[in-house]
């Protein structure tokens, strides 16, 4: 029963990974690509594969998994299936944190810069939790559409602040990444990948502190306390975990929307809301979605890169509608 949900995404991921490594401006027959990968020599194909394509493919997978997990966690923690790091402004908060770190002289792709991205994301979560807090109540009523609108406003505000910072600065490092706020995986390097992987693992460790107790957040706060768990602590831990995951992605690839919303939403319709199954399956499909989108982004038009956000919207929205319609008819 459980394994059946894993088999399909694992097969699809393997196929997508193979195709993604083989496809690109510099290509060859499957056999040539395979030997170039194994030999790791000075041939152009081998150099491109090892220095550009492999880190990029791995980065796309990690980013997809991380954003998808962060979306699933935020939906769980805010009791709202429409919560998403990009919509609520958490990704922008992360980006703002990173840009400020770069302006302060930290290096792009460094761990300290990524750490500032975590702080930026947490700052955005703190604002949205604070603003939506009900008067006199212990916790915010985050299950409403109004909550999502507050997030939309916050996102617009932070994006504005980010825009002003980027256009006002003369810092070359910050200026060169201004296009990055639209989201791109093209800046992949092994060094950046290492930083992303480190933060990804850190995020997983934080989530593992809560594990299936996260499911309790579907209940009212007093019902959670009756069961002996502390809802504020659960939410706080999930906030830290998801901020780390968002920052891990955002600090190298910028703000990528859609993945954090549609993947967990669609997967929840199929496997149910239990985080035990939802989190790993959503992570797998999230990494497939971003991997395929990024491969299309760099190969669809010869010698030109399409923004990955465009591709994600084109692939993601029909899948999303298809799952919704299928669900409604069943």
């Amino acid at each position: 029963m459980r394994t059946k949900h894993f088999v399909l995404p694992l097969i699809v991921l393997l196929l997508a990974l193979t195709g993604s490594i083989a496809l690109g401006g510099v290509a060859g027959s499957p056999a040539e690509v395979f030997t170039a990968l194994i030999r790791h020599d000075h041939s152009t194909l081998s150099q491109v594969l090892w220095n550009i394509r492999l880190p990029r493919v791995l980065l796309a997978m990690l980013v997809g998994a991380g954003l998808s997990l962060a979306g699933a966690l935020m939906q769980t923690m805010f009791r709202n299936p429409l919560a998403d790091p990009a919509i609520l402004g958490i990704s922008s908060g992360s980006a703002l944190g990173l840009v400020m770190a770069l302006l302060a002289g930290l290096e792009f792709g460094s761990i300290s810069a990524s750490f500032c991205a975590v702080l930026g994301g947490l700052f955005a979560i703190a604002i949205i939790s604070g603003v939506t807090r009900r008067k006199g109540a212990v916790s915010a009523d985050t299950s409403t559409a109004g909550f999502v609108l507050v997030g939309v406003a916050l996102n617009a505000f932070i994006a504005g602040a980010l825009g002003i910072l980027l256009s006002a600065t003369s810092n070359p490092q910050a200026r060169s990444i201004s296009f990055w706020t639209l989201g791109t995986i093209s800046l992949a390097t092994w060094k950046g990948l290492t930083s992303v992987a480190l933060f990804f693992v850190a995020g997983l460790i934080v989530i593992s502190l809560v594990r299936t107790k996260a499911n309790l957040l579907a209940l009212e706060d007093y019902e959670i306390r009756i069961l002996g768990a502390n809802p504020s602590k659960l939410r706080f831990t999930l906030a830290i975990g998801s901020a780390i995951l968002v920052a891990s992605a955002t600090s190298i690839v910028g703000v990528i929307s859609f993945v954090g919303l549609i993947t967990p939403y669609a997967i929840r319709l199929v496997v149910g809301p239990n985080v035990k199954l939802l989190l790993p399956i959503a992570a797998l499909w999230g990494s497939i979605l971003v991997l395929i989108s990024d491969t299309l982004a760099r190969t669809l038009i010869h010698s030109m890169e399409i923004p990955i956000g465009t591709i994600l919207a084109l692939i993601g929205s029909p899948i999303f509608v298809w799952v919704l319609v299928k669900r409604v008819r069943a």
Binding site: R79, N215, A218, Y222, E223, R225, I226, L227, G228, N274
Partner: protein, 213 residues
């Protein structure tokens, strides 16, 4: 008889409205107490206060000989539980998953087998076995009420606090609740119920306390 929980000289209010003043109540081991009274008189607030989920303004609350503030949330979860009258869930968990929330306080301390056995028993007690894999949000209100009760009983706390447990139940299922409550009492447990349901109250026996506005 030994006292399990006692509230003394308590003032209980909701918002700015004082509902109960200088209110005292003792709950013995192996006993059933039913709170009756008109709507809005403060039954639910009293129940939540005794569960430790509504702060008292004056007075004290003790459970098993200690002041409530001396317990951690985890310790309290093994001593008392509260069953609301309506089911809330932000996501469509299955009946099995939702009922299993009740195992949170002790899940880590028992074997997988014992855990599964307890879960199976409580699902059978409340006639939920055939609904196990259905979403709790797709159930009728009577089925949802049984799910809440099953979760509450699975928690295994000594003091059961049940808020209007039979409002949505038909006769045959009321008898199930009645049996489960009396079984809990006979095992030495304490039950505190708020109810309007005359037949249910009569069938239960025990003490009746009327709240007046």
């Amino acid at each position: 008889m030994k006292t399990l929980a006692a509230i003394k000289g308590a003032t209980i209010s909701r918002g700015n409205k004082v509902l109960l003043e200088n209110f005292s109540l003792q709950l013995e081991e192996s006993s059933i107490t039913t709170i009756i009274g008109a709507n809005g008189v403060g039954k639910t607030s009293l129940l939540l206060a005794i569960a430790g989920e509504l702060a008292l303004e004056g007075g004290s609350l003790s459970i098993a000989g200690k002041n409530i503030s001396d317990y951690s949330l985890a310790e309290l979860a093994l001593l008392r539980t509260y069953c609301p009258s309506t089911l809330n869930s932000a996501f469509p968990f299955t009946v099995n998953e939702f009922v299993n929330f009740g195992s949170t306080p002790w899940r880590k301390n028992v074997s997988v087998m014992l855990h599964a056995e307890r879960l199976a028993r409580v699902l059978a007690t409340f006639d939920l076995v055939h609904l196990g894999s259905k979403s709790v949000l797709s159930l009728s209100s009577g089925e949802q009420q049984r799910v809440l009760l099953a979760k509450t009983f699975l928690q295994g706390a000594r003091l059961l606090i049940l808020d209007e447990p039979t409002t949505a139940l038909d006769m045959s299922h009321q008898i199930l609740i009645n049996k489960a409550v009396i079984a809990h009492k006979n095992e030495g447990g304490t039950v505190l119920i708020a109810s309007h349901d005359q037949d249910f109250i009569k069938g239960m026996g025990g003490r009746i306390v009327e709240l007046k506005g």
